[in-house]
């Protein structure tokens, strides 16, 4: 038991930064949605208007699922928080569980742990208990944020529970995937693949006519049936708990039977040499990242086709003035035209591409943390050449993903005869780049100045700026604070004209930060992880 306690504490401490980050996001979403709704829709008349228009809009349901009650603060907050937060909580559970169950084995640390007087069953249970404890923290924080926004305690506790609940199922999915895949990467791909399918099934259930029964095929659909603040029905919680229990028991049974360090899928450890892309550190990075680049392209492409198809879902007839006002704060344009709707959606591509830029900073940092960079720099490879290769790769890959977004959104829009031309949507894709490159430059600067904290800083800047953009206006932050977020300076192309001045400033900030990054990286020691 003593050893199990040590494993539990280690796992909890290892995950503390990620847990704290998600807690902040849940708290911000819960608080801002409740407070923002009260401010924006003070009267029943406005709330009815919202329910009639926004709530029935398929494009909005893409993110938040099906609403049950948009006439009360709790009903609205429940829809917004549980609808989107349940996806976030599921992704959190996947990363947390793969981290404690598979990443430890990747680094042979699990051998060290299991050499102690602790059974595999106890080690497995202790690691999962740490994730469960972190989930309880997330639940508490989300609940407190809702209570702070003047929602009743009981309902807040239930809504927070609903939001976190699918994490249990996806913890089970990740636990099984960690037994199947022999590496962290494979386990993550399997689990996130299952999450992607679960999300697509929810989308189909919500926005395809007559497909409501599909909702029962996905845990994210069961979450929708829990109906926080709208005639709550906790029965599907049993379904979630049962699914989680079955998956966790199956994974636990495998973990006591298999070889530690291996998975059920055989690892392909021998291969004839393929010597392509090994000429320089930059091309090697492309080689190492190609799988993840393909996954990003697939995800962004799927999303782009979907928003293209949905670009005609808004019309003058079914939009309220209050809603128009709220959305203008996000995208700064009218969304009733297809071009305007696409401009609104492309704000999310700015977010995705900025996160992708962060992932490239993280990849560079990993090469340093794993001490592979020492080997490279001990060769006749200069620091500027190495970092330059990384920057070129990150920039070109971000640009390529922006083009994927533009072209595939055009294909989706063309299917629905939305009448937005290919050049305009390629322009919309290109318009996402200045902000993403600004974040890339800032992430690089963090890498140059504070390498150990750089990955957290890079992601933190993007998420913080996006939350500010999303909720800053709703909770009444002053204008100069809102202006700090690069998101507020991205024009909603193609619905609004390109803002060349703002784009130039963002590119200039990115370039200046990158230049400082090169200068500081050239002067500093290398730091192992």
């Amino acid at each position: 038991m003593r050893a199990a306690g040590a494993i539990f504490r280690r796992a909890l401490v290892d995950g503390k930064v990620v847990t704290a980050s998600f807690a902040v996001v849940f708290a911000a979403m819960g608080f801002a949605n409740a407070v923002g709704y009260r401010r924006t829709y003070p009267t029943t008349r406005e709330r009815l208007e919202l329910a009639r228009t926004f709530g029935l809009n398929k494009a909005v349901q893409l993110f938040y699922g099906r609403p049950h009650d948009l006439l009360t603060v709790g009903g609205y907050a429940g829809w917004r928080l549980a609808g989107f937060g349940s996806i976030l909580a599921s992704a959190w559970a996947v990363f947390a569980v793969v981290r404690v169950l598979r990443a430890e084995e990747d680094h042979d640390r699990q051998d060290l742990v299991l050499a102690n007087p602790v059974s595999r069953r106890h080690a497995y249970a202790a690691a999962l208990a740490a994730v469960a404890a972190a989930a309880v923290i997330l639940w508490l924080v989300a609940m407190l944020a809702l209570v702070a926004a003047s929602l009743p305690v009981g309902g807040s506790a239930y809504l927070a529970l609903v939001t976190i609940s699918p994490a249990a199922v996806f913890a089970g999915v990740a636990a099984v995937a960690s037994q199947i895949g022999a590496t962290r990467r494979v386990a993550l791909q399997l689990s996130l693949g299952v999450l992607g399918v679960a999300y697509l099934l929810r989308v189909v259930a919500d926005i395809a006519g007559g497909a409501g029964a599909v909702r029962w095929a996905t845990p994210l659909g069961w979450v929708e049936e829990l109906r926080p603040f709208a005639q709550p029905n906790p029965a599907p919680l049993l379904l979630l708990g049962l699914a989680a229990a079955v998956l966790l028991v199956v994974a636990g049974a495998i973990v006591t039977r298999r070889d530690i360090g291996n998975g059920l899928l055989p690892a392909h450890d021998t291969a004839p040499p393929r010597l392509g892309l090994l000429r320089s550190p930059g091309t090697e990075a492309l080689r190492a990242e190609r799988g993840s680049l393909a996954a990003w392209a697939l995800g962004i492409g799927t999303f782009a086709v979907t928003v293209g198809v949905l670009s005609t879902a808004f019309s003058k007839a079914n939009i309220s003035t209050a809603l128009e006002h709220e959305l203008r704060k996000l995208g700064g344009t009218s969304i009733v035209t297809p071009a305007g709707a696409l401009g609104f959606y492309f704000v999310f591509f700015v977010l995705l591409l900025s996160l992708f830029a962060c992932s490239q900073v993280a990849s560079a940092r990993r090469e340093e943390a794993d001490q592979r960079l020492e080997l490279l720099l001990a060769l006749p490879v200069g620091r500027a050449r190495w970092l330059g290769g990384r920057v070129v790769l990150a920039t070109l890959a971000t640009a390529a993903l922006a083009m994927v977004a533009g072209v595939l959104a055009w294909i989706g829009a063309a299917i629905e005869h939305a009448g937005v031309s290919l050049p305009r949507l390629i322009g919309a894709g290109a318009n996402t780049l200045p902000a993403a490159l600004c974040f890339l430059g800032l992430g690089l600067l963090a890498f140059g100045l504070a390498p150990r904290a750089s990955v957290g800083i890079a992601y933190g800047l993007v998420v913080g700026a996006f939350l500010l953009q999303l909720f800053g206006a709703l909770v009444g932050a002053p204008g100069w604070v809102l202006d700090l977020s690069p998101f507020s300076h991205v024009a909603a192309v193609p619905g609004a004209p390109f803002r060349a001045g703002a784009a130039a400033v963002m590119v200039a900030v990115g370039l200046a930060a990158a230049a400082l990054a090169f200068a500081s990286f050239a002067r500093r020691d290398l730091y192992a992880g």
């Binding site: 020492e374 720099l377 490879v381």
Partner: protein, 300 residues
């Protein structure tokens, strides 16, 4: 006089409040095999990181073949090959792919010699690095470094994880490199390896170079040791200058002699000696001379 392969002056490195390397003055001549000895944490890897321009010196300077280790690192590295103590490598590449990548980056690699080394080290080249044991990953690094035929090989505890057969292959390869006139900087705490390979040895203790020289020079600093057994009970031997006597048992004594042996031999000749062995101190004894075994202050 030719340019030294490695030259440092007052080279120091401070990490926060820890002085990891304290004013190192070092000169390694071309063609020399230099053993860099010290226990864990003495500053061996710090020295190497400074020599390779991976970390920046707090004070002093380092040069490789006359080129500044920090500001002219890329040019210096064209003549250097490095083997790291903690081989992580690229998990998704196979051994052969890793060798190709490192060869591409170095620019000069003797492909025929590389293939020969792959054979001699029995490297499982088609296997991915993530599936290799520590020793096998070390072999990938060693083959890559040796195959460059670089003028200077910087080896940081290169044989950790190697089995005795591979350790033997490694020693042969280093001696071949020496015969070709390559310089080797071998950081190690394996004394037999250093004794077998190195022309000169430096001993590092808590960031300071406490002793340096050829093995013969280092030995002169220490005593000869004579173990003597007498036929009967041990006699009374008078105190002699520069000689330290200790009693082993009823009929045996040990003498540590710092200077001339003549006076002691003359004294011993007066007694019935059945056995006398004389030996010079091993590198291990010289090394332990600088550490009291518990890592504390050196034995005076």
């Amino acid at each position: 006089m030719q340019t030294p392969a490695i030259h440092t002056e007052g080279l120091s490195k401070r990490y926060g409040s820890t002085l990891a390397l304290d004013s190192l003055d070092l000169a390694v001549e071309p063609g020399e095999v230099y053993g860099y000895l010290g226990p864990n944490g003495a500053g061996k890897t710090t020295t190497i990181r400074l020599l390779l321009g991976l970390h920046r010196a707090t004070a002093g300077r380092a040069e490789l073949f006359g080129r500044d280790a920090w500001s002219d690192a890329v040019a210096a590295h064209r003549r250097v090959a490095y083997v790291a103590g903690e081989p992580t490598l690229w998990p998704g590449l196979t051994g052969a792919e890793t060798l190709a990548y490192l060869a591409n980056l170095h620019g000069t690699t003797d492909a025929a010699y590389r293939d020969e080394l792959v054979e001699r080290f029995r490297l499982d080249a088609p296997k991915k690095v993530r599936a290799l044991s520590k020793g096998n990953r070390q072999k990938v690094q060693l083959v890559a470094a040796l195959a460059t035929r670089a003028d200077l090989l910087v080896l940081d505890e290169p044989t950790t994880g190697l089995d005795p057969l591979m350790e033997q292959v490694f020693r042969e390869a280093v001696l071949e490199a020496k015969q070709r006139g390559q310089t080797v900087f071998l950081s190690s705490h394996i004394l037999s390896e250093v004794e077998a390979l190195c022309d000169r040895v430096g001993i590092l203790r808590e960031g300071r170079l406490v002793d340096q020289g050829t093995l013969a020079e280092l030995r002169h600093l220490s005593a000869h040791t004579l173990d003597v057994t007498f036929a009967g009970p041990r006699p009374q031997i008078p105190e002699l200058p520069g000689i330290h006597a200790s009693i082993v048992d009823g009929s045996s004594m040990r003498f540590e002699v710092a200077g001339e042996l003549t006076a002691l031999l003359a004294e011993l000749a007066k007694h019935d000696v059945t056995s006398l062995t004389s030996r010079q101190p091993s590198l291990e004894e010289i090394f332990l001379h600088h550490y009291d075994g518990s890592g504390g202050a050196p034995v005076a």
